[in-house]
């Protein structure tokens, strides 16, 4: 994990996880505000401008007044967001720190774990190794946009039914990745699913249940 981001994520992230599958919007907002405040307290201005780590709109981010920031519109889960971003901002940081879409997780920040997996024009990518500015005009789908309104995506249902997680940190990435996998037609055997899900690590070792969930979702979708 990028050390400049650690204060934002640490501890509070666990609460966030508990809320992933339920709908406690108020608690979520509350936690985000706390997260934002603590970020502002713990991180100095120098780090803020580099990582653009402010999480709430109440706190002025120095980078917003940075003359080098670029105004861009990102289409996420069908909705347009217009933001000013330092061009250094990765898609993951834009989602999490600026647009408050904290479903996508930061595990390694170096393309090695898959926690940040999102869909861009229907294809899965690691949002930590791509700049937000590279995605103007693209259709971005995050875990927040996978469900159809209140109706969970069959892959989400399958993960719940098969207990495809423990702590849940890798889960948004696993689910986005698995949704793309089924479209890629690479889920034809257990070994093939394992190989084509190898970009998503799970420190809790929920792999057998993740495999079962994907197989189940595949059966139900065909």
């Amino acid at each position: 994990m990028n050390e400049s981001d650690a204060p934002v994520d640490s501890g509070l992230e666990e609460f966030d996880e508990l809320l992933i599958l339920s709908n406690l919007e108020t608690r979520r907002k509350f936690i985000k505000q706390v997260a934002g405040t603590s970020a502002a307290i713990t991180i100095g201005p120098a780090l803020l401008s580099a990582a653009d780590a402010t999480a709430t709109s109440q706190i002025a981010s120095p980078s917003k007044s940075n003359s080098d920031s670029i105004s861009m519109t990102l289409k996420i889960n069908g909705k347009d967001y217009t933001v000013d971003l330092d061009p250094r901002t990765t898609l993951l940081d834009a989602l999490r720190e600026r647009l408050h879409l904290t479903g996508s997780k930061k595990g390694c920040d170096h393309g090695q774990c898959g926690a940040c997996t999102v869909l861009v024009n229907g294809r899965r990518i690691n949002s930590c190794l791509t700049l937000a500015v590279m995605h103007e005009g693209d259709e971005i789908t995050t875990i927040e946009g996978i469900a159809n309104g209140d109706e969970l995506h069959p892959m989400q249902t399958a993960f719940i039914e098969h207990d495809g997680f423990q702590c849940g940190y890798c889960t948004p990435g696993q689910i986005c990745s698995a949704v793309a996998l089924l479209k890629e037609n690479h889920a034809n055997s257990d070994d093939e699913i394992r190989e084509f899900m190898s970009g998503n690590l799970c420190r809790c070792g929920a792999y057998p249940n993740i495999l079962a969930a994907i197989k189940d979702a595949k059966t139900k979708s065909t």
Binding site: N2, A50, P87, I125, L129, V133, R194, S198
Partner: protein, 329 residues
């Protein structure tokens, strides 16, 4: 990450014109460049996003082979019918690399220019690295060098090129097409990457203002009989310790008519095993022949404290890969 000016090129000529700016870099999939920028290893002042350039086609040029646009994503190349049927070694090499997500991002041009995973290079906290900081020394030669080179290295640098795709392309005699301010040119694959010598910081023969536009694969009818063997610490999502791209043409009596072998994980550039190839032609395709070829290729190999195992590993991998291809119908 250092600040940079971002621009988006809409045609190759414009991209090339931008590239003469100070410390300019093209941005492909970003999977290596952005990673290295986060580490503080790459510090471009001008970043030219080339993702919107019209270079994402795979073109069937019939008798002239296949032209692969520089922006074709690794996953699309691996899954393309022309590649799967005509050049399976390339498809296998691509699918053995990185993860599905990374392959969806990584471009052919970026893969060619991805930089070494030498730990001392990747982390500026290490003071010594001639590649990152010429003249500072090499941290790996006396340090931890398990993943390092056994062929073609110098006393300045023992890093390896980490690509899988490039090993297959080296075996396939691919040609890299580039466009610069002085026009277009073609670079045979063997001349594209360089050995470290005294300038490990200069990794290819590409000029600063040159954009890779495509990679051409020649027609090699017998490339349908080909295989990529990757040996690594994990079964998946790991760089090669040693890898072998093998293409083999046998006659009726199982004698070797033609053969191409390239090695990965062993050198600063994709290593074409020409000594092994020479020793194979005309001989009966059996284990003894393959072992002799492997011995010939690795005769000049030199190991270091932690990577000497790669010498025997490379020999066995050559034998295994050739045996697999020889057994193909």
């Amino acid at each position: 990450m250092n600040p940079f000016a971002y621009s988006r090129a809409s045609d190759p000529t414009q991209a090339v014109a931008e590239a003469v700016k100070p410390r300019a870099k093209f941005l492909g999939g970003g999977t290596n460049l952005i990673d290295l920028m986060k580490m503080g290893v790459e510090t471009p002042a001008n970043l030219i996003d080339i993702n919107k350039l019209p270079l994402a086609q795979i073109e069937d040029r019939k008798s002239q082979g296949v032209r692969i646009g520089a922006l074709v994503r690794n996953s699309d190349l691996a899954e393309h019918e022309l590649i799967k049927s005509g050049y399976p070694v390339l498809s296998e090499a691509l699918l053995s690399g990185a993860s599905p997500q990374l392959r969806n991002m990584a471009t052919v041009g970026g893969n060619l220019l991805q930089r070494t995973r030498c730990y001392y290079f990747y982390d500026p906290a290490f003071p010594q690295c001639n590649k990152r900081n010429p003249g500072s020394g090499c941290g790996a030669i006396e340090g931890y060098n398990r993943i390092h080179a056994i062929l073609g290295q110098s006393d300045q640098c023992i890093a390896i090129h980490p690509s899988d795709m490039c090993i297959a392309m080296a075996a396939l005699d691919a040609v890299v097409r580039v466009q610069g301010s002085k026009g277009e040119r073609e670079i045979p694959f063997a001349d594209f990457h360089r050995l470290p010598g005294n300038t490990p910081n200069i990794e290819t023969n590409l000029q600063q203002d040159e954009l890779i536009t495509a990679v051409d694969l020649p027609i090699i009818p017998f490339a349908t009989r080909s295989h990529y063997l990757k040996v690594r610490d994990r079964a998946s999502y790991a760089f090669a310790l040693v890898s072998v791209a093998a293409i083999l043409d046998l006659d009726q009596s199982k004698k070797v008519k033609a053969v191409r072998v390239a090695l990965g994980g062993v050198a600063h550039k994709p290593w074409r095993a020409s000594k092994a190839e020479e020793s194979l032609v005309g001989k009966t395709a059996d284990e003894k022949t393959f072992r002799a070829a492997a011995e010939a290729e690795l005769a000049a190999a030199k190991g270091y404290k932690h990577n000497s195992f790669k010498i025997e590993l490379a020999k066995r991998a050559i034998v295994r890969a050739l045996t697999t291809v020889a057994a193909m119908a």
